[in-house]
């Protein structure tokens, strides 16, 4: 599918506060008091770029973090509060040169028009390194922050009684991405003509109304921001089951999935590829990255001890939707290569402690993968699409 050789895999890191373990902020490397400063984020992204990673994603949410599935938990022993992910990405863009910047955007309560121009602008300020990770929310408290709709309470995302609610939120997300993408194409690349002879700044025949009408919103267009450098910035989504796999298959460039072993990986990849065919995108490149939570140390015992110590601080064992790995870079490289063989094209690693496990990825895992010929030794492209082996797409509105 992608032009990258089969032996080479893609690597992303998912940034979330001080790390994915709820007690991560208590580690000596965590810098919890700096979480709300630009310098903290700039350092993390610089570290990821040092490791030649394809991209970082930045988590976000429209309410306080919570250990509960749906409701706030009123805990004071974990990190609460976060900055807007798109703005963090934009703040670090001028300080980096190669790495992709993929903030989370919540489709359920925000405006596709605003997000389309925000990500297009992130693509301009980063010279072609922008993407987004689209997320839905079924949390009633987040709906109450906006006061525009109520969302029926659900038991779990895969509970049979809630299928309709969840499907509706994902359908809305699909519409949202459709609008965002149409707006990115609503200016043809050569629409700005600056023709002094006729006094026309643009050729308005090369600007397009998108005229999207959906159940949750209608958007006329065109965008106020010209087509971004990549044409279409990267769209990605985390998916755990058939409904979101369908979103990934229809609309995304990267799906993040959570297999716990190679067999599950094969099954998920098969399902996504089948959906992709159904969606009429069979020939198009679509990455499927495996998410893995990582505790990385030079020897396995140290990694396991650290995990145990953090669990003790948290007062409960850490659980995750994704596979949790504790061990050495060498062992992780084995795991990733096995999953890669099962059809995953890359990985989004979730550092348990950002200040510890991110440098362990860039300075331990990456050299090991390079030694095995499984990861790049230098950035070989100027844009995120380029790093991912994706061509700059034709504009859907341009006359052939």
């Amino acid at each position: 599918m992608s032009s990258t050789p089969l032996s080479s895999l893609h690597l992303a890191v998912a940034l979330d506060g001080t790390g994915w373990h709820p007690a991560s902020w208590r580690e000596p490397e965590a810098r919890p008091r700096e979480l709300f400063t630009a310098g903290y984020w700039a350092d993390l992204v610089a570290e990821a770029e040092r490791g030649l990673l394809d991209l970082v994603t930045i988590e976000d949410g429209l309410g306080p973090q919570s250990s509960h599935f749906l409701d706030p938990d009123e805990r004071t022993d974990q990190v609460r509060g976060r900055l807007d992910a798109v703005l963090i990405a934009s703040r670090v863009a001028p300080l980096t040169r190669h790495i992709g910047l993929v903030p989370t955007v919540v489709s359920t309560h925000t405006e596709p028009f605003h997000i389309s121009k925000a990500i297009a602008t992130l693509d301009y300020v980063s010279a072609g390194r922008a993407g987004l990770r689209v997320q839905i929310t079924a949390r009633p408290n987040e709906a109450a922050h906006f006061g525009r709709r109520t969302i029926p309470r659900i038991e779990a995302y895969d509970h049979p009684d809630t299928r309709e609610v969840v499907a509706d939120l994902f359908d809305e997300a699909a519409d949202y991405v459709e609008v965002v993408r149409r707006l990115w194409d609503s200016w043809e690349d050569d629409a700005e003509i600056r023709d002094a002879a006729t006094g026309r700044f643009i050729d308005r025949d090369k600007l397009h109304y998108i005229d999207f009408e959906g159940r949750h919103f209608s958007v006329r267009g065109p965008s106020i921001t010209p087509r971004p450098p990549q044409g279409q910035p990267i769209v990605s989504a985390l998916a755990h089951q058939t409904v979101p796999y369908r979103l990934v298959s229809r609309q995304a460039d990267i799906g993040y999935v959570t297999p716990h072993d190679a067999e599950q990986a094969r099954a998920i990849v098969a399902e996504i590829r089948a959906e992709q065919e159904t969606a009429g995108r069979a020939g198009e490149p679509l990455h499927v990255f495996g998410d893995v939570v990582v505790f990385l140390d030079d020897d396995q015992a140290a990694a396991e001890d650290r995990r145990a110590r953090l669990d003790a601080l948290a007062g409960e064992p850490y659980t995750s939707d994704a596979r949790i790995f504790a061990g050495t870079p060498d062992q992780l490289a084995d795991v990733l290569q096995e999953l890669h063989t099962a059809g995953l094209t890359g990985f989004r690693l979730r550092p348990a402690v950002a200040g510890h496990d991110l440098p362990a990825i860039t300075r331990g895992l990456v050299p090991e993968l390079q030694r095995r010929g499984a990861f790049r030794r230098a950035y070989e492209a100027d844009t995120l699409r380029g790093l991912l082996g994706l061509a700059r797409p034709a504009n859907r509105y341009a006359a052939a």
């Binding site: 580690e27 965590a30 008091r33 709300f36 630009a38 700039a42 949410g61 429209l62 306080p64 706030p72 004071t76 022993d77 609460r80 509060g81 976060r82 900055l83 807007d84 798109v86 703005l87 963090i88 934009s90 703040r91 670090v92 863009a93 001028p94 300080l95 405006e111 028009f113 605003h114 121009k117 925000a118 297009a120 301009y124 300020v125 408290n141 987040e142 109450a144 922050h145 906006f146 006061g147 525009r148 700005e192 600056r194 002094a196 006094g199 026309r200 700044f201 643009i202 308005r204 600007l207 949750h216 919103f217 209608s218 958007v219 267009g221 065109p222 106020i224 921001t225 010209p226 601080l313």
Partner: protein
């Protein structure tokens, strides 16, 4: 005793999508590429300006049912550009125009609080309202807001955003690694707002930012707009940049402050101002004339006359006399997505007045549009411009100016190099930034201190 000299505030408006911006000049660069914003912002910071200002539009303008193509078209997203500019500047304030009609308070408050954190306290919000269903076609809400509710929504929007900014007090984050307490209070950020436009509750998820709240700008000029500014705003982005009109506006708005328990210096008046700078006054006059003709082509002149006439005037000769027919005063307007057209509240009277002006001066359509709309506020040598700006500020026509250059991105360079040093020599403009935040530059107190003062008095 003589009055102490007022310190002048200066800001840089990134050239926008009005015909003020001359794109046809060979020196005109991109209005989209980030490098243009970097050049412009660094010039403003080199000159110790208070802040950079970005306007916003949420739908491309149309005239006669077609996208308007004679001016610069398109712009990047306000928040995203400002966040990136925070990385390439250290002191410069970052002011963004953000609409209160097609946004929600929770999201906008998050964005401004985040931007304030990410810039170390340099953010300002120019609160504007939208006027038309035309823009609404790009948003979930559609075109829903009756004209008379624009300000009531804007006021409630800002009040709600302030409740969100104030829902964190600044002492909640302990991050005590030893004891394991990250937050002092599990209810940090709790809020409830029940009103006509917003009925929301929950927890705000961005801790208190360095400035507490962004600096608030207001740009409306109506009676309602002036009251809104007097009660809520830290600064007004006004359009009254002449001496007499400026003084009248300044007096009118500042006298409204007392009613809200506010002091004279808690609201700054900062008009938008254009300028043409050259080595001598005579050369500047020549250059200014040339720039005005670049700004108003024949085609542009006809389109601008349509703002008043509200009819297709494409068959008229821009170098000929004004139309004999009267404006169409129907409800619908030929121009969409433009605040400007609302300035002409009585088009028949304006048309009459303009015909008389044109006849008396022997002006063509193009001459009239140039003379009524595009004369630069400050024209002259650096010495003349510095003297005039200072005179205006000392005479309370304003507290400073938001300069709108006609060229992207170099339109501010000469002003920075030549005019600013003269203002500094006069002792009316800073030679170094005195504090890290935009409130420091503007001489505005931190909201916590204002609250303490009000509580103590």
């Amino acid at each position: 005793m003589t009055k102490p000299l007022k310190q002048i505030h200066l800001a840089a408006h990134f050239p926008g999508v009005n015909n003020t911006t001359v794109w046809s000049d060979p020196k005109a660069g991109s209005h989209i590429e980030f490098s243009s914003f970097v050049h412009f912002a660094r010039t403003a910071e080199r000159a110790k300006f208070d802040f950079l200002f970005l306007a916003e539009g949420l739908r491309l303008r149309e005239q006669g049912g077609q996208i308007y193509d004679l001016d610069v078209v398109g712009r990047p997203d306000t928040f995203t550009v400002l966040a990136a500019l925070a990385a390439v500047t250290e002191h410069l304030g970052l002011t963004g125009t953000i609409n209160s009609t097609f946004n929600e308070p929770y999201e906008v408050a998050r964005q401004f609080a985040s931007l304030d954190h990410l810039s170390g306290g340099r953010t300002a919000w120019n609160v504007v309202t939208s006027w038309d269903a035309f823009t609404g076609e790009n948003f979930r809400r559609g075109g829903f807001l009756p004209q008379e509710e624009r300000y009531s929504r804007a006021k409630e929007f800002l009040a709600t955003a302030n409740e969100l900014f104030d829902s964190w007090h600044g002492d909640e984050i302990l991050a005590d690694q030893e004891s394991g307490s990250f937050l002092r209070d599990a209810k940090a950020g709790a809020f409830v707002h029940t009103g006509q436009h917003f009925d929301i509750h929950g927890q705000f998820n961005v801790p208190r930012s360095p400035q507490g709240r962004p600096v608030i700008f207001q740009a409306g000029d109506s009676e309602e707009g002036r009251e809104f500014a007097a009660s809520e705003a830290d600064a007004i982005f006004s359009r009254h940049a002449t001496l007499e009109a400026g003084q009248a506006f300044f007096t009118d708005v500042k006298k409204r402050l007392a009613k809200y328990g506010r002091h004279h210096d808690q609201l700054l008046i900062l008009p938008a101002a254009t300028f043409t700078l050259a080595d001598t006054d005579a050369e500047a006059e020549e250059l200014a004339k040339e720039v005005r003709r670049q700004q108003v082509s024949g085609a542009t002149a006809l389109k601008h006359l349509e703002f008043v006439w509200n009819r297709d005037l494409s068959s008229y000769d821009p170098d000929g006399p004004l139309p004999d027919i009267d404006p169409d005063v129907g409800d619908s307007h030929i121009s969409q997505g433009r605040a400007q057209v609302r300035m002409y509240r009585d088009p028949l009277a304006t048309a009459r007045e303009w015909r008389e002006l044109a006849a008396a001066n022997n002006w063509s359509i193009r001459d009239l549009v140039i003379e009524t709309g595009n004369r630069q506020n400050f024209i002259g040598s650096a010495e003349t411009i510095a003297r005039t700006i200072n005179e205006f500020v000392q005479a309370d026509a304003s507290d400073g100016f938001i300069l709108v250059p006609h060229l992207t991105p170099t339109g501010l360079d000469e002003f920075a190099d030549k005019v600013v040093p003269l203002l500094q020599e006069r002792g009316v403009f800073r030679t170094e930034y005195e504090g890290p935040t935009l409130r420091d530059h503007l001489g505005l107190a931190h909201p916590d201190d204002v609250r303490d003062q009000r509580a103590a008095s």
